[in-house]
């Protein structure tokens, strides 16, 4: 395998570059649809036997767990059992080098009596966060998913009901095997513009009809005038006034054939324009409001499921609605649920290792009433303890928001850069590679450091334990 690819990898890179150019020319970039909470997958993708909906960030988290388990199984299998000194090489060797490096790194920081516990926690968090951060670099993640109408639901307090608001976007192309995607043949549409175009066509048709009628009336009047001119010129005005009733008749007669034909022609042109777009397989669907079919929202804040693709997009009642993609997999660390869970686990483990190391006396870090009546500055100790308590809750916030902010901003950066420079978003992928690694390291390292700090008594008795490590 290796000998086959030696020297040929550059062609793979070239091929990928050409594919990127082709895709950038063929497929117009989609306006990124940005939503902070994880999006619900459509109904039918519930957790089995429950009504609970799965978010696409949960899918990513499950993939991370499965990958980690497979990874650990692989590492355990490849590990030399007989304690041989022969380096196994390859991926296993790389992981071993990383593991040993990190082990030395952590033993320099927290190499005390609780090193094993701290290092296990460090490595677990590091691997989970690293894998879920790096998932944003895999093609298809954040881009492949379900296509649904780009609509927003707004609660209208005046009428006390939800309204579906459609917004601008690309219509979709339904191509090979019924797979829908956005394609260069399909236009950017906005429902407001479409409605305006319909209205303009109607007005234009009406104007054309009136013009045809006027023209007809002028013709009739001219014929009448000529006829009267030939005979008795003096009575021409009287004839015109008297003949007005006849003109009305002529108008009606003209309305029934020529004028209405012109009217129909304009509308048919508009209809043909719409049909041409349908013939190019550019579909829109009908925006079915979930509330029209007897659907009762149970609460104002209930999350609505995406409006489904109409079964027959070419049908006459199909309204023109733009579509957006609901990704099947979205990077897990862009969801606050994931980062908050990890942060709570980390801070709980900090308290656990503190109690384990110092016993119940660890709690005097927070509730330090021992010196309150003994020394004149005892009140300060109480206040400092309470500040420590607040600080530990702030740790949860800072852990979770640091990771969420960095990764969500990175995801938006990748979206927007793929939108602006479809051929060359690579530098930003490299940037995201480093940001993901650094954020994973920072999260795990801070956990390790806080855990180590918790094992050190603030009564400066066993500080030498810490000093020895350095």
């Amino acid at each position: 395998m290796n000998s086959f690819w030696n020297g040929k990898r550059r062609y793979v890179a070239l091929l990928l570059f050409l594919a990127g150019v082709f895709v950038a020319l063929e497929v117009p970039p989609v306006i990124p649809f940005i939503q902070l909470p994880g999006e619900n997958l459509p109904s039918g993708y519930n957790i089995p036997f429950t009504d609970m909906r799965i978010t696409n960030t949960l899918v990513a988290a499950v993939i991370v767990w499965i990958l980690l388990l497979l990874f650990l199984a692989y590492i355990a299998r490849r590990r030399p059992k007989d304690g041989s000194e022969v380096p196994p090489g390859g991926f296993y060797n790389m992981f071993e080098a990383l593991y040993e490096g990190l082990m030395g790194f952590i033993s320099g920081i927290a190499g005390g009596a609780h090193f094993r516990l701290i290092f296990n926690m460090f490595m677990t968090i590091f691997l989970i966060v690293l894998l879920s951060n790096w998932m944003s670099l895999i093609p298809g993640i954040d881009t492949v998913g379900f296509i649904h109408a780009h609509t927003k639901e707004k609660y209208d307090p005046a009428t006390e009901e939800y309204k579906v608001i459609t917004t601008d976007g690309y219509e979709i192309y339904q191509g090979f095997l019924g797979i829908s995607y956005v394609n260069g043949q399909c236009d950017w549409i906005s429902p407001a513009d479409e409605a305006a175009a319909d209205e303009a066509a109607l007005a234009n048709a009406e104007a054309v009809r009136l013009a045809a009628i006027d023209e007809l009336a002028v013709k009739v009047a001219y014929a009448r005038y000529q006829a009267s001119h030939d005979g008795h010129g003096d009575d021409a005005t009287e004839e015109g006034a008297g003949g007005h009733g006849d003109d009305d008749h002529a108008e009606e007669a003209g309305d029934s054939d020529e004028a209405s034909a012109a009217y129909d022609e304009v509308l048919a042109a508009r209809e043909a324009e719409k049909q041409a777009r349908r013939d190019r397989d550019c579909y829109t669907g009908v925006a079915i409001s979930p509330w029209e079919d007897g659907y009762e929202p149970s609460g104002k804040d209930e999350k609505k499921e995406p409006i489904p693709l109409h079964p027959d997009p070419g049908s006459a009642e199909a309204k023109r609605v733009p579509w957006v993609v609901l990704p099947l997999v979205r990077v897990a660390s862009t969801d606050l649920n994931m980062t908050l869970t990890l942060a709570i686990i980390a801070v709980v483990m900090v308290q656990y290792v503190g109690v384990k190391a110092l016993g119940i006396g660890y709690l005097t870090k927070f509730f330090n009433f021992g010196t309150l009546f003994k020394s004149p500055l005892g009140g300060i100790d109480v206040a400092v303890g309470l500040l420590e308590l607040i600080g530990d809750f702030a740790k949860i916030l800072s852990f979770s928001f640091r990771l969420l902010g960095a990764m969500f901003a990175g995801a938006i950066l990748l979206f927007v850069m793929s939108f602006l420079v479809p051929i060359l978003p690579w530098p930003f992928f490299i940037l995201e590679f480093f940001v993901g690694a650094i954020q994973a390291l920072v999260f795990a390292l801070l956990t390790a450091i806080f855990m180590n700090l918790a094992t050190i008594s603030h009564h400066h008795d066993d500080d030498h334990d810490h000093a020895e490590a350095h």
């Binding site: 902070l36 902010g405 901003a409 801070l446």
Partner: protein
């Protein structure tokens, strides 16, 4: 100006103002990395210790900038 445009205008201005906070994080990171690099240059033997503390300090300084970022993201994408 119609209400929708006013809302968008307010969101954009608010998000931009919130990101001013990122300047503090940048200054902090620059100062700490600058100091760490100087220290490493003078005392290369202590690079691992300095690097650890530098990453910690950078993480804390960056956290403040990221709070600003989260606030502006919330203004842009969550507020209605």
């Amino acid at each position: 100006m119609d209400p929708q445009s006013t809302i968008i205008l307010g969101k954009a201005i608010g998000a931009g103002l919130a990101m001013i906070g990122a300047a503090g994080g940048g200054i902090g990171i620059g100062l700490s990395v600058g100091g760490a690099v100087q220290a490493m240059g003078r005392n290369p033997d202590h690079t691992p210790t300095i690097q650890t503390n530098m990453i910690l300090g950078v993480a804390f300084a960056e956290a403040v900038a990221i709070y600003a970022l989260v606030v502006s993201l919330i203004i842009l994408f969550v507020l209605n």
